[in-house]
């Protein structure tokens, strides 16, 4: 603890030292020191065969409040990876802002980044509830500062405040759960749950924890801060927040899950159902978005749904005593957590590069960008294929694990479990299909065809350091996709050891499919290369011409006639109208308007949770409180009168004997 405080103070000082470049480099260096240090610990814990925490070995130099088991270690590695790539990306991304923003503000930004990094690591390490909540709070505050970086843009601060308030509501839930579970103890700790869950019914406390952590993770009806905060934040912050910070909500849920002993079936079923809704809702909303970062934010919700499905299957699998269902579910959830942190940060970085060049987040105004920024476009494509869960990239592997869990559940035979698994399978299939619809749309409209509006300046490819930041996640995306059997064994032992699955793990049954997937991915790659080579050699002595796009006889095709994102999803949006209402502003012309003037036209999709559950009650509160404002006259005499009335009231009540 003391070391970390010293570390924090030192880095904070370093960030604040004058000289822009020097402080940036030094911040980077100190950050890498922490990354290397914590990663070493994490790897050390992960490669141990038993699930022993390093608490025992390093007790001398870290206080016993901290303990690092495999679950923490896994999350530390994810955090470190994404923070490093985010930091590299930010050095390039923030360059244009150096002129427009005060130096202190930028330094504060980096300070917050360092604090976010440290607090995220500490969240995974602390078991003591008090310290846990403290670092949880630091995490929220520092990410709040990161989100409101562009405070002068309309809506940014509001989005940040929404985030801040909702996070505090979440923290209150976590605090409440801690207090309930620690009744009769001196300290609030996670370990109290061990005893509490043995003697009490499990689901109420789990539910309170779930709401608290679910607010961070963005489960359905707790997600409303996400689509606001991500578009407001700078892209590296979105990448880090969506990539790892919301995963700490998942970490919290998993941590609580490790202590569960009874009520497993109802908890598992509710988590599965809620996650299925989360996933479907996330992707259904995402398709309708034309703001690229909002779209990616809704996709975070979708992926949280998929991770939640895995967790729910894990819990439900242990409830019905099916080891494969349980282990494959947990392993799928954990792997998807890792995968999502990789491809989501990649997508946010690529989107950020594009936004920095074309100065809009509206995909309808982009187009043809693959010619200007090929590396970014290919990085985005890899991310898009991976997030759609398609082979040969990593998204497929984690979804495959969840499918294995599901089909084993379906094949195992009882009716009621079967219904649960069937619903989960159906939703996962639909989520996959919708994700393809969404990412073909956004990739095509952003990067392909001709520019859909005139760019003020010619977009150029990102700087080398930003490309490096994009390359970092691409490597593991491809690695996990092509060689899944390498990661599957530690992953299974991780999920098996953390979640106390007593029986021997079905390692062989899992590794064999992974090897085949690896073979198939490699042969797919080889076959593609072979076809390309054959085409090249065949085409060597034939004509390759270039001509205008077929316009059905119409010869002067221009960029305005291209298919747009709105029209691409037209049939879909008609189909989902019963669930999600979309609308557009009306353009009315009066009869006497011979030369119509300019009019604004916009389309919108309604997030019904946000409008019904958050906006309606809060608006009601605001209007009611506004009515009470008649008392606030601003005249001193009135206020004296209020005090007098109050005193008389007290007097009268005492006289009657009520107080």
């Amino acid at each position: 603890m003391i070391y970390l405080l010293i570390y924090l103070i030192v880095t904070s000082l370093i960030v604040m030292i004058p000289g822009r470049k020097m402080s940036l480099i030094l911040t980077g260096v100190t950050m890498f020191v922490l990354v290397i240090f914590s990663s070493c610990l994490a790897i050390d814990v992960l490669i141990q065969t038993q699930n022993q925490s390093f608490l025992l070995e390093v007790q001398q130099f870290i206080s016993p409040l901290i303990s690092c088991d495999k679950l923490s270690a896994f999350f530390i590695l994810i955090i470190n990876f994404t923070v490093v790539s985010g930091f590299l990306y930010s050095t390039g991304y923030l360059k244009p802002y150096l002129k427009s923003k005060p130096v202190t503000w930028i330094k504060l930004h980096y300070l917050a980044l360092v604090w976010l990094h440290v607090s995220m690591i500490m969240v995974t390490l602390f078991r003591n509830g008090f310290y846990f909540l403290m670092v949880w709070e630091i995490m929220t505050l520092s990410s709040f500062i990161l989100v409101i970086f562009e405070y002068d843009v309309k809506g940014t601060v509001k989005a940040g405040l929404i985030y801040l308030i909702q996070m505090h509501v979440g923290m209150l839930f976590i605090l409440a759960a801690f207090i309930i579970s620690s009744k009769g103890y001196e300290r609030l700790t996670f370990d109290n749950l061990d005893f509490y869950f043995l003697n009490n019914s499990n689901w109420p406390v789990f539910l309170i924890f779930f709401i608290g952590f679910g607010l961070k993770a963005g489960f359905f009806f707790l997600h409303t801060w996400l689509p606001d905060a991500h578009p407001a934040a700078p892209s590296h912050v979105s990448g880090i927040m969506s990539g790892v910070m919301i995963k700490l909500g998942i970490y919290g849920i998993l941590r609580v899950t490790t202590y569960l002993v009874s009520d497993l079936a109802p908890i598992g079923i509710s988590v599965i159902i809620l996650s299925a809704i989360t996933g479907l809702f996330g992707v259904m909303m995402a398709i309708l978005q034309h703001d690229i970062k909002k779209l990616l934010a809704y996709h975070s919700i979708e992926n949280i749904g998929i991770i939640g499905l895995g967790i729910g299957l894990g819990i439900y699998g242990s409830a019905i005593g099916n080891v494969i269902v349980s282990v494959a579910g947990y392993a799928g959830a954990l792997l998807h957590t890792l995968n999502h942190s990789l491809f989501k940060s990649l997508l946010f970085y690529s989107a950020g590069t594009v936004i920095g060049q074309v100065h809009t987040r509206d995909v309808e105004k982009m187009g043809g960008l693959i010619k200007f920024m090929p590396f970014t476009a290919w990085a985005f494509l890899i991310g898009a294929i991976a997030i759609s869960g398609l082979p040969p990239f990593n998204g497929f592997i984690s979804e495959f694990l969840i499918y294995i869990s599901l089909f084993n559940g379906i094949g195992s035979g009882d009716f009621y479990p079967l219904v649960v698994f069937f619903i989960a399978m159906l939703s996962l299939v639909v989520i996959g299909g919708l994700a393809i619809l969404c990412f073909t749309k956004v990739f095509s409209v952003m990067f392909l065809g001709q520019p859909r509006s005139e760019y003020h300046e010619k977009p150029v490819e990102a700087k080398k350091i930003m490309l490096l930041a994009k390359l970092l996640p691409v490597i593991p995306i491809v690695m996990i996709g092509f060689l899944p059997f390498i990661i599957i064994k530690p992953l299974l032992s991780l999920s098996g050891s953390v979640f106390n699955v007593a029986q021997t793990l079905p390692v062989e049954a899992m590794i064999q499919p992974m090897q085949y997937i690896s073979i198939i991915s490699v042969s797919l790659l080889l076959l593609i290369t072979a076809i390309l080579v054959v085409r090249k050699s065949v085409m060597r002595n034939r004509m390759t011409l270039a001509g205008p796009t077929w316009g059905c006889g119409y010869s002067s095709v221009d960029s305005k006639q291209q298919y747009t994102a709105t029209s691409f999803i037209q049939e879909y949006s008609d189909l989902v109208k019963p669930v999600i209402t979309t609308g557009h502003s009306k353009i009315n012309y009066s009869d006497d308007e011979i030369f119509p003037g300019k009019r604004d036209f916009y389309t919108h999709s309604d997030d019904f949770v946000r409008s019904r559950l958050i906006l309606k009650p809060s608006n009601f509160i605001v209007t009611t409180l506004k009515r009470a404002a008649i008392f606030q006259t601003g005249k001193l005499q009135h206020y004296v009168l209020y005090a007098l009335i109050f005193l008389f009231l007290i007097l009268a009540l005492t006289f009657i004997g009520l107080i």
Partner: protein, 296 residues
């Protein structure tokens, strides 16, 4: 290996059969069975015209489309012959390889910046999304029915259970419909239409030519063969399997030709209902399987 060879042989004849059937029913003399293959062969030897707007995606996509379907074919059993690759959960990979090919198809359509190709892409994306549950529900039913987890064992029905042949027929009906939708045939789409506005698949490849177009056509032939083989596996017992296999393939091709000759295509906005109906039939089968297995 036998399975793969059989699939490739089948892919050579099915689409020719469809064309032949259509010409017979419409009273034309019509081309020979191998005419589509000959056309593709001609395309393979032609030069390529690229759109000025298109870039690297157009150049890469046809290879990925063809490769992913060919790789998916490695996992398909043919009339009792074991496929080259078979493992637990391979049907997920199978379905997702088809999805990968669809993904590339859609983005390739957008690459030319055409005003038509996006239209087909939009429909393809939506219908592809809607038909996927049908396949997965069918697979889930078969997983319960057979208790196995790989394509080669769940689709090999005969001899496993009573009533297997009846289930085989229903499954064939569902897979047949999936084939029509995946391959954009009547009643969802008409490959012979001449109006871009009403096309789905054809409009996506308007700007694809030569070798690339040939690759796309080969993919379409392979898709027919793959689904045809799945149907044959559900129906054919072990004896006489080669002869019966080809009989089923000929019937399959003839049936599609028959449908295309006598059925009119749907209005575009009715297609979704039709596709969802297929999903529902597949769910019905699922429920029936639950009954036969006494799970209710």
């Amino acid at each position: 290996m036998v399975a793969l060879i059989l699939i490739i042989i089948t892919s050579l004849i099915t689409s020719g059969l469809i064309v032949r059937m259509k010409s017979i029913f419409s009273g034309r003399k019509g081309p020979g069975i191998f005419q589509p293959i000959k056309n593709t062969w001609v395309l393979l030897r032609k030069g390529i015209v690229y759109s000025l707007t298109s870039g690297s995606i157009t150049r890469l996509a046809p290879a990925v489309i063809a490769a992913s379907v060919l790789i998916a074919a490695l996992m398909v059993p043919v009339a009792g012959f074991q496929p080259l690759i078979s493992f637990n959960g391979d049907f997920v990979l199978f379905a997702y390889l088809f999805a990968l090919s669809r993904f590339m198809m859609i983005i390739a359509a957008f690459d030319s910046g055409s005003s038509f190709e996006g239209m087909g892409a939009s429909r393809e994306a939506l219908y592809g999304m809607l038909i996927e549950p049908a396949l997965f529900v069918l697979i889930a039913g078969l997983v319960i029915f057979t208790g196995n987890y790989s394509i080669s064992s769940i689709f090999t029905l005969p001899g496993k259970e009573n009533y297997a042949i009846i289930f085989g027929l229903i499954i064939s009906y569902i897979i047949g419909n999936i084939t029509l939708i995946e391959n954009s045939r009547v009643p969802v789409d008409d490959p012979k239409t001449h109006l871009e506005l009403t096309m789905i698949h054809e409009v996506m490849v308007l700007d694809t030519s030569g070798f690339n177009l040939a690759l796309i056509q080969i993919t379409a032939y392979l898709k027919f063969a793959v689904f045809g083989s799945l149907i044959s596996s559900t129906l054919i017992p072990v004896f006489l399997r080669l002869i019966l296999f080809f009989a089923v393939q000929v019937l399959f091709g003839a049936a599609i030709g028959f449908i295309e000759s006598f059925r009119s295509r749907f209005k575009m906005n009715r297609n979704q209902q039709y596709i969802l109906t297929v999903t529902l039939i597949s769910m019905l089968l699922f429920v029936v399987i639950l009954f036969t297995k006494n799970i209710f």
